[in-house]
Amino acid sequence: MNFNSPFALPFSIGCVVMFAVIAYKYVRWLYIMPDSDKRQIKANIFSRRTWQAVGECVTESLLHRRIFRVNPVLGYMHMSLAFGWFLLIATGFVETVAYMGWTPVPLRGHVFFKYYSREMPHTEMWQMVFTQVMDALLLFVLSGVALAWCKRVYSKMMGMRRTTRHVWGDRIALTALWCIFPARLLAESTTAALWHNGGFLTGTVGSLLASSLSVEALLRMENAVWLFYALALGVFFCAMPFSRYMHIFTEVPLIFLRRWGVTSDDRPKSFDHFQLEACSRCGICIDPCQLQRDAGINNVQGVYFLRDRRYNMLSAEVADTCLMCGRCSERCPVGLDINKLRQNSRYSLHNSPSFRRYDYLRGVDSSVGSGKVGYFAGCMTLLSPRIMLAMEKIFDSAGEQVWWADRNGGVCCGRPLKLAGEIDAAREMMRQNTALFVKHGITTLVTSCPICLKVFREDYNLPGIEILHHSEYIARLLDEGRLKVKCNQTEYTYHDPCELGRGCGVYEPPRQVIQSVGQLLEPEETRNHALCCGSSIANTTISDGAQLRIAESLGRSLEATGAQSIVTACPLCKKAVKRGTKLPVYDLAEVVADNLTAQSPQSE
């Protein structure tokens, strides 16, 4: 069979460009990977994790299970395009093999098989089946394309209030993509019209064409539409490695690398490229973003941040304007660690080696008391003396000997600097605090600030010291019977602090504690989907007004539960939420301290 028809040339060029660029990128990224990551891959490549990765590739890259969870129609749209196209290629390959046997067929032979096989008889039963199956698959994909068109016009249909605003490169690729399958339908239908074959779709459209056009016209048209089809494919392939469609392939290595234990880090590294280019710019991250929802900031969301960083046009403003609440990552269908990437972008933008910057910290120790349990209030708690007093009451009641690390002022935990990208400076604070904790010989470190908690757990090396948030600590005291509280009928609602919930995965202990003193009412968006208070320490750019609007929006959602008071477990959240609601706002410790029963047993 002669596969040298000129119309296929754009397709062939596109294929060469696409595969060459992708191969270059992947090889380069793997080559520059740090040795630690390479060792990680070697250690895990022959393990169960590889098979889990294969499974994830099927469920996510092809079936888009996670998007189905966001919205079924949106899920179907993505699945029909991805899985449908995959099946078209796979079935087309099998069909070619069935027709031609195991002879070497160029790629274009598979893709344009309907054209090359137009003179072959299609009479056998299995041939008819192939034709019908291929038509069905084409219809499947076309249904996805139609939904994509609808989404552009009316995105709410798929549960998205906002869709991504695309750059020009993406628009070219998108236009080409939208043309591919209608072009294929038209091309195959024209051939079917001329040769009187085709399945239920192409055959029907073909006979419609045959009835309205002369044979000569059809003959002229046939070459043109196949060329159009090949052009659409060629343009798409050329644009693909440079556009958002790079995610089609990149998601696969990403899944494998991630399963093998490779992650992004505080400082940028090679793996970041896989994350950046695996973003499909679906825009699912836009809706959960409260900066968009309440503060009207529209150019900083995950999708725009990743895009800007990928194309080296990331501005400090985009990198810095984010609450890092993590709500977007919770919804991301590709599971990208957007916060980590943003933080290491900030590192590139802001980190300045510290040298003697924090010399003044050396030897600072204004701690008081002594005990195996250390309490680190954190800067923000120092501005909320009620929390301090409540903790004191709780410690007293439980008979705990406590070393107060920073009751008279201390050194910041370092997380704010780390979140701002100033890793080296943050390390200075960490060194200072670590030395302080070790010096006083504590075995348990309790903090009431989730910001501190996260950095203690993530970045501090404190062997032999158990790090607890006060919610966990209080829950434990209650469990052990060292604290006795009276339960009343007060209805509380709980606001999950970002750093505590999504940040440290502590969802249950605060709830247990609240339920031991009263009733708990959950707001609509809660746990890993909980709203941010807006005053996040990770943000250095938004105005006071924007913070207030976010807090008010959160306040409304908490008030909607009908609860009498709001409880949270973060001093910063407490202050922020207070600005957005008329309900009383308490820290968890206050609620417990207020409900302690006098005769609580002293632990022996």
Partner: protein
């Protein structure tokens, strides 16, 4: 040049005619809230770093606004970015943003 055994003292006056005010202008174009400072000193009073060292946020940003950039970068670098000042500011100034911006704009100084 001859060494007479003494140097000429530099003028202490803030000279608004010769100071380069462009950087200052860029800073409050980005964060106009900074202009609303009424010098109450809450930020400095609550400052975590200020409790340990002589860092005075109010004074440093006022100097920067007058085009006095010397030392400003080094001084601002003492900030731990903990954010207490932002919570106490009666004018709602994004103090942490001011710190980051001043460090960014004056990194070369």
């Amino acid at each position: 040049m001859i060494d007479f055994g003494f140097g000429v003292n530099t003028a202490r006056a803030i000279n608004m005619d010769t100071n380069d005010l462009d950087t200052a202008r860029e800073i409050f174009d980005r964060l106009p809230d900074l202009q609303t400072c009424i010098a109450c000193g809450s930020c400095t009073a609550t400052c975590t770093a200020g409790a340990i060292t002589s860092f005075n946020f109010r004074k440093v940003h006022t100097l920067v606004r007058r085009g006095e950039y010397g030392e400003a970068y080094a001084e601002m670098s003492k900030c731990m970015l903990c954010g207490k000042c932002r919570l106490v500011c009666p004018r709602g100034i994004n103090t942490r943003g001011v710190v980051m911006l001043i460090k960014k704009k004056l990194g070369d100084y």
